[in-house]
């Protein structure tokens, strides 16, 4: 089985702070990381490969420093990695990005052989659109299932996919090739291992770099030019300072009353609520 896993190199948004004086986000000096929601997707791909054999190829479209992210994926056990990078790809929205990624998958098939499965993390922490997996599936005209928790390989070119939703679990049997969005926290990612990291370091050809001279895409369809998305207006939400209060009553009913008094402003409604729930 040949599995491609798409990852995104994103700013560590945990660290992005709001400057109340200038009204902007402070992004200076924020190191990037592999989108944390992509790690379960890498783990899923590795487990499938370990179970049925084949290879896992990690790919990302990003500026060159994203090579650090691919090294992490290789360290986890991915067999090879592709950095798709070119100035003409810069400024892309999700449509232009998915167009490049889908074409990269086609090139992977030309270079390394048929791709059976493309997996992505469900969404990214820096934009959260969850567009990419679906759009890549559309470009490739492959089936797409998202919120995937589990995959079983059925052996006749089909897989059974378990997707977990809020109230119910669904199972699909789909024909390969397919694109899957792996649910957030579906699996615990394995740590980086010494051998994998060393193998990637010693074999320089484990990471290949593709620009547009390799992909040969119409420059009008990629990067800023290929991006129809218009950001009409952005509103920065001012940071609300959090307050902490501690109340430790003996009787849990007092605690309940206290909490209600904190969240329900209207006094009459509050009384009614307390009375209804705890009998006064």
């Amino acid at each position: 089985m040949r599995i491609a896993v798409g990852i995104k190199w994103v700013p560590n948004t945990q660290a992005v702070r709001f400057d109340p004086e200038t009204g902007t986000l402070i992004r200076k000096g924020i190191p990037s990381i592999v989108n944390p929601h992509d790690l379960p997707a890498i783990e899923m791909a590795l487990r499938l490969r370990d179970a049925v054999g084949g290879e896992v190829i990690a790919f990302t479209m990003a500026p060159p420093p994203a090579v650090k992210g691919l090294e992490l994926a290789l360290g986890m056990g991915v067999d090879r990695a592709i950095l798709i990078t070119d100035r003409v790809f810069a400024g892309a929205d999700t449509l232009a990005t998915s167009y490049v990624l889908a074409n990269a998958i086609s090139k992977v098939e030309r270079e390394y052989g048929k791709v059976d499965l493309v997996v992505f993390g469900q969404e990214t922490i820096d934009s959260s659109t969850a567009h990419i997996p679906g759009q890549v599936a559309s470009w490739l005209d492959w089936p797409y299932v998202y919120y995937v928790k589990d995959i079983q390989v059925l052996g006749d070119g089909r897989i059974r996919v378990v997707r977990e939703l809020e109230d119910y679990i669904e199972e699909y049997e789909i024909e390969l090739p397919a694109v899957l969005g792996i649910a957030v926290r579906a699996l615990k990612p394995r740590p980086v291992s010494l051998y994998n990291k060393l193998r990637a370091k010693l074999n320089k050809d484990t990471i290949v770099v593709w620009g547009n001279s390799e992909l040969k895409l119409d420059p009008r369809c990629v990067g800023l030019k290929g991006s129809p998305t218009i950001v009409a207006k952005t509103i920065d939400m001012p940071e609300v300072p959090r307050k902490k209060e501690v109340y430790k009553p003996r009787d849990p009913r007092d605690a309940a009353r206290w909490i209600v008094s904190k969240i329900v402003e209207d006094e009459k409604l509050r009384e009614l609520l307390v009375k209804k729930l705890w009998g006064g």
Partner: protein, 97 residues
């Protein structure tokens, strides 16, 4: 543009922690194994990141803000605290130190 306004106001620890960056692992690398005999007051006041706190009588260790300095390790026995470095390059990511 940074403003010229005075910033001479106390920054609470919770806010100070916002100024540093972590790539937090899902797996905890430090764990209280046995609370008896631990130097609780020293741990609470000296862990520079305030990772140790009491919930009632129980000592809680929040590994997320740990900078892997080892102070709690020095103050405790190996049977009281399990202490390791995070894996995969995770944990504190210093930039200007």
């Amino acid at each position: 543009m940074s403003s010229q306004a005075s910033r001479l106001k106390v920054i609470k620890l919770g806010e100070l922690l916002q100024r540093s960056i972590w790539d937090v692992d899902e797996e905890r690398h430090i764990e209280v194994l046995k609370q008896e005999g631990l130097r609780v007051k020293a741990l609470i006041l000296l862990c520079p990141m305030g990772c140790y706190s009491l919930a009632g009588d129980k000592l809680i260790m929040s590994y997320e803000g740990c900078v892997e300095c080892g102070t709690c390790r020095v103050l405790s026995g190996s049977d009281q605290i399990r202490w390791e470095y995070p894996k995969s390059g995770r944990g504190i990511q210093y930039r200007y130190m």
